[in-house]
Symmetry: C2
Subunit: 221 residues, 2 copies
Amino acid sequence: MVPSETLFPLVTVDVALFTVIDDSLRVLLVQRALEPERRRWALPGGMLKPALDGSLEAAARRVLQRKVSVDVAHLEEVCTFSGADRDPRGWSIAVLFCALLQKDQVNALVRDKVEALEWADATNPGHRMAFDHALQLQTALARLRARVAAKALPLHMLPERFTLTQLQRTCEAILGHPLDKSAFRRRLKDSPDLVELDEFVRGAQRPAQLYRAGDGFSFSG
Amino acid sequence: MVPSETLFPLVTVDVALFTVIDDSLRVLLVQRALEPERRRWALPGGMLKPALDGSLEAAARRVLQRKVSVDVAHLEEVCTFSGADRDPRGWSIAVLFCALLQKDQVNALVRDKVEALEWADATNPGHRMAFDHALQLQTALARLRARVAAKALPLHMLPERFTLTQLQRTCEAILGHPLDKSAFRRRLKDSPDLVELDEFVRGAQRPAQLYRAGDGFSFSG
DNA sequence: AGAATAGTGTCTGTCAGACAGTATCGC
DNA sequence: GCGATACTGTCTGACAGACACTATTCT
């Protein structure tokens, strides 16, 4: 215990990194290699380093870069968690971020040498989690769902070109319940966030039109 | 400059404390008594003190208690502001809170011995503000407006017993535009957040029914 | 032809804005 | 009665859920 603890809190950033795999919403968990809470599963996170980071959001990007070598398309602050008891090392602040990963980057994650990675079911991760990360995950999930329920489109989770059915499946996976196809498409018909392309996906059935994100698109802006 | 600055950021809490005076939305500003930014107007705020504060929200309550001796009914985290340049003392984090003040407590504010207080127009405070507080105010105001636009009732700004017209005027002051009376009341007709009382306000016209907040009421919950 | 998926049309209920109307007070 | 404010009724258009329908491909 260093004396500065009573003057300065520990400041960490944690990231709930979401993606959709097989129509199920997943969140990235890492198994901690160091004490405290060694071997427990946790959201990827790390200490703020003022000498390296331009802001808390930059710190979150650095953590993701270091742990999984990934640049996420969307990163958004959710809220903070603070107090003397949430981390045994002392009075601490965790700033929670919510991030969306492009589907085609899921396999680009680099497995850190010491930590195990897992894409856990976001609604039921199946591990007892470190610190207050179970609460953090619940909070980030609620924020993500609220945004999608409020008609934000999770385009940052999809490949650059995608079909409306893919988009609908992604929204359904996030929300956890099915959506009506007709209503879903009607809502998107005149959205400036979607641009109709002149390309189609061919499969074992009727071809589906491809779309891309509109130019000024932002998930929450 | 102490060397710990490169390891630990300064952590402060700032509070945008809103109320409605004369049908206009106001925010509490204080004039700084100390450097840096001495004599500039700012949102009330202060350093986090881990030895005193149970959490960042508790720190915000302590700051309000110390600066204006007031216990606010609603206090909600908005987001953080961070970086090396926002405060000349070094790399810093400000955690912004949004608070609502009961109308009948407006005059209960204690003027701190060194700082001047002012209830400034929230949309146009009329001062050049310290640090990034102009941006903070704008952000807190946007959050408040978004909540009220999403049908949250700012009952924490009203006295314990109030009329529907008072409530509507308060919402209008927050949003900055008039609301339709019929639609407003229709929406509240079956709300569990409002309880009809058996009392009326008598004036120079038809008496108005009084209401109080429902038992489990929370501005954003 | 039939399976499978893409995409559309229509009915209906809910809800909000607009606005006119009625009710009840003081003077 | 008149002014003022409280409160209500009704019309209408926007929109979302439900669900049946058509369209186009592959096998």
